[in-house]
């Protein structure tokens, strides 16, 4: 990678960090829980992109594995937080084979 392309990657990483910092404002000042969850999800996606670009900048491509792990963990964390705030517990068996209907305990499958 030529040094010019390195500077271009560095500028892209700085712009992604600026975008993450702006997303933190919505995370702190979001009026509802779902605004904060949306901000966390978007923040995680931007973290994955920043990790990939950063691995290219420092020339060690091993960190893409960490980025892959972070992408999966971000999705699982979002679903787990949604389930917790819907049922107020995590050890609830979700109903299967139905979409959108209300269940017996008043909750709903995610």
């Amino acid at each position: 990678m030529s040094p010019l392309m390195g500077y271009f990657m560095l500028g892209s990483a700085i712009l992604i960090i600026v975008s993450m910092a702006l997303m933190l404002a919505r995370l702190i000042g979001g009026p509802t829980l779902y605004d904060r969850l949306l901000a966390v999800n978007s923040f995680g996606t931007k973290t994955v992109l920043f990790l990939c670009i950063f691995c290219f900048i420092i020339g060690r491509p091993d960190g893409v594995d960490i980025a892959l792990l972070y992408a999966l963990m971000n999705f699982i964390a979002t679903i787990a937080v949604l389930k917790f705030f819907n049922y107020r517990a995590l050890d609830v068996t979700l109903p299967r084979g139905r979409t959108g209907g209300n269940t017996a305990d008043g909750g709903d499958a995610l």
Binding site: L4, S12, D35, L38, N41, S42, A71, L110
Partner: protein, 135 residues
């Protein structure tokens, strides 16, 4: 300005060393720059939309789609810069999982908010006033 001179020197040096033009190098650099700039535009537009839009559902609309497309474009820009097959496969795997999980998470957040009774901000749409001087 010095960066432009450096780019011109790099291009002229590459033209002197190789008798024919290395087309793959040109294509990979142009593809990297174009798709990286497009991806950064989408990411920043989505962030500004999340900050400025008035309602949860409109913010979700701004963030969900632009994050998916911007992430795919930036990963495509990185794939153009790879030099071995292993990195290409890893980045394709990251792109595939982001493409699957990001809309799913967006849908889950929207569905949970709707089931929890969060009302969208509704109002009458008013068309802008027309100029009456046209016949």
């Amino acid at each position: 300005m010095s960066l432009i001179f450096a780019a011109a020197a790099e291009v002229s040096q590459a033209a002197e060393t190789a008798s024919h033009i290395d087309w793959w190098s040109v294509v990979s650099k142009v593809g990297t720059v174009v798709s990286m700039i497009a991806g950064l535009f989408f990411i920043l537009a989505g962030t500004i939309g999340v900050l400025r839009l008035p309602d949860f559902y409109t913010r979700l609309h701004a963030a969900g789609m632009t994050d998916t497309l911007g992430a795919e474009l930036i990963l495509l820009a990185l794939i153009f810069q790879c030099d071995n097959l292993q990195m290409v496969l890893k980045l394709l795997l990251v792109a595939f999982f982001l493409l699957v999980t990001s809309p799913t998470a967006t849908h889950a957040v929207a569905h949970a908010a709707y089931r929890a009774g969060l009302k969208p901000l509704l109002g009458e749409y008013r068309a802008p006033e027309l100029e009456e001087d046209a016949p």
